[in-house]
């Protein structure tokens, strides 16, 4: 904040009960003392009530005024943190002691949420640790145990996007009279490796492109893992992790293709290609607004058909059809998660769907795709493609309304959107589980 005292700042300062006057005494120590005050937006001055303190500065000297507030919350601590620092020259006249503000700074957590405030200061943290490293002659880095670094870097909780289509393919195969649970587990492991590798690769390229750097409002569901930005994991380690995950996933896929069905090979190649070129050049699908389609294809038909083929050693139209609602709902996870990221994405040249289209189109698009997902289930049952018990999946439909309401109410508030982002992930998971249970019954 940089402004001299105008009516807006005067009104804001007037909301504080007192000010803390700070200056330097004769011995070179700071003095800070509370007193009453009256901001005058017309005169551009803050008038101070007389106070008893040593070595008070004379006219023309610089003085700092601090206005600070917290609301005590017994049992937890406090909230509503805000403060303003005002620096200016001392004026002594007939009206008493006053300060003419020249410079201000401060923070109000209701205007800049705490997490965003932290993100905006990342560079300062790195500068501090870098200086410490120079002083000590050894690197000073933030620390988290390896298990947490791996958990964050790979974004394990997003694995529900893989678990649902793999299980769906397996239970459809079971309903067709095939069963191979050990091989299904192996397929799940392989697909999970590719998924986690995708997440790691996505982080590497989003940091390189500046998309994660530009994003100062990450949420638990968007904005990347940030392990590289925070200095918790080096880029080389991220590359190694991605390569290991892709190699392991590909090896498992290759084994399944060789031993079960050649269709798995083509599905696997398509899946790995989408996972790599989701963010990697030259395609950078997500940077061109094609990430949603890539995610729908990869976490919908490709995984479901692949899993089906592992068990049944062939592909089926039913498995393809049943994967479509899952594909639409997993696509909607990315679609909505791009909303809080869109300002940073735009600054970094990442032209996602949420960057390309405005609020109304995005919300309308969400409604249409969510409705399509459930319509596909109903039509599938009516047409006799899917068993009637898969209608159980419709139980999750109200979650889509919750996401819609969240988008309407908090489209421009990244942290306000978090419950909607969580509901959207739950929508995919519970609809998928409904389909899976429907096939099991």
């Amino acid at each position: 904040m940089t402004a001299i005292l105008d009516h807006e700042l005067a009104a804001h300062l007037g909301s504080y009960p007192h000010t803390i006057v700070s200056y330097v005494d004769r011995e070179g120590y700071p003095v800070n003392v509370a007193t009453g005050f009256r901001p005058d937006g017309y005169a551009g001055l803050v008038y101070l009530e007389p106070f008893d303190a040593p070595d008070q500065p004379g006219a023309g000297a610089e003085m700092e005024l601090t206005f600070s507030h917290v609301r005590p919350r017994p049992g937890t601590g406090y909230d509503q943190r805000r403060y303003v620092n005002v620096w200016g020259k001392v004026i002594r006249g007939d009206a008493g002691l006053a300060v003419a503000p020249e410079r201000t700074a401060g923070w109000d957590e209701q205007r800049v949420p705490f997490v965003e405030y932290c993100e905006r200061n990342l560079a300062r943290a790195h500068r501090y640790m870098s200086r410490l490293s120079e002083e000590r002659g050894a690197p000073v880095r933030p620390f988290l145990p390896l298990r947490w670094r791996l958990f964050l870097a790979t974004r394990v909780p997003f694995l529900t996007a893989t678990i649902v289509p793999i299980l769906l393919g397996a239970v459809i195969a079971r309903s067709h009279g095939y069963s191979a649970w050990l091989l299904t587990t192996l397929a799940l492991l392989g697909a999970s490796c590719i998924h986690l590798g995708l997440n790691v690769l996505n982080d590497i390229f989003d940091v390189s492109s500046g998309a994660d750097v530009e994003n100062v409002t990450p949420t638990p569901f968007s904005g990347g893992s940030r392990v590289v930005l925070y200095g918790l994991v080096g880029r080389r380690s991220m590359w190694t992790l991605a390569l290991v995950l892709f190699a392991l996933g590909s090896a498992i896929g290759g084994y399944l293709a060789l031993t079960r069905a050649t269709e798995i090979l083509w599905l696997g190649i398509a899946g790995v290609a989408l996972a790599i070129f989701y963010t990697a050049p030259p395609l950078k699908l997500v940077y061109r607004g094609l990430g949603d389609i890539a995610v729908a294809a990869g976490f919908g038909p490709i995984m479901t058909l692949g899993s089906y083929a592992v068990v049944a050693q062939r592909v089926s139209f039913e498995a393809f059809y049943a994967s479509l609602p899952v594909a639409l709902l997993v696509m909607l996870i990315l679609y909505v998660n791009q909303v809080p990221d869109r300002l940073g994405d735009e600054r970094a040249g990442k032209r996602t769907v949420a960057v390309r289209f405005g609020r109304e189109w995005i919300i309308r698009g969400y409604d249409v795709f969510a409705a399509m997902a459930f319509a596909l289930i109903v039509v599938g049952v009516i047409a006799g493609i899917m068993p009637v018990w898969t209608l159980l999946a419709l139980v999750a439909a109200p979650l889509a309304l919750r996401v819609h309401s969240g988008l309407v109410a908090h489209y421009d508030e990244p942290y306000g959107l978090v419950p909607a982002l969580a509901s959207n992930i739950a929508l995919h998971l519970f609809t998928g589980l409904g389909l899976i249970v429907g096939y099991v019954l």
Partner: protein, 158 residues
């Protein structure tokens, strides 16, 4: 060292927030922080994310700490206090060094223990330096806007 006057010790012990004023060249800069008092020295912690104050203290250790907000200081007979002193930044172990003052911090902000369990969510916030202030002079205003009492503290010498 001469102990702090009772009023100052009692208020520091209860205050949820204080104002730490440091020197940036010949200018003063004030930061609201949680004061932690062990009966002799005042401690505060600062994340590396908000490390400018640490740089200032390293350049000039002269500081002042005030408690001015009666609503954030749950005591009977509130008095405004200012403690002038010399500060030291302890940043040998940013990850765990500051945990020595966690019990004092938790007493004022119980929710910090829960946040700490989730430190993976905001890892840099929990990379912290300790600020240790050795008091040398205490200013007490028993009544708001009233007269000042000055207490000089003598450092014990071996």
């Amino acid at each position: 060292m001469t102990p702090l006057p009772d009023d100052a010790a009692r208020i520091l012990d209860a205050a949820l927030v204080c104002e730490l004023t440091v020197l940036s060249g010949d200018r003063v800069v004030t930061y609201p922080l949680i004061p932690l008092f062990d009966g002799e020295r005042i401690f505060m912690t600062s994340s590396v994310l908000f490390s400018r104050k640490l740089d200032h203290i390293k350049a000039n250790p002269k500081v002042a700490v005030s408690v001015t907000d009666p609503t954030a200081t749950p005591v009977d007979r509130f008095a405004r206090i200012t403690i002038q002193g010399d500060a030291r930044v302890i940043d040998d172990d940013l990850h765990a060094g500051w945990l020595s003052v966690l019990p004092m911090w938790e007493r004022k902000e119980p929710v910090i223990r829960k946040f700490l369990r989730q430190r993976f969510g905001l890892p840099l916030f929990f990379e912290r330096a300790l600020i240790e202030v050795t008091p040398r002079r205490v200013l007490v205003w028993p009544q708001p806007g009233g007269w000042l009492e000055v207490h000089e503290l003598q450092e014990e010498r071996a």
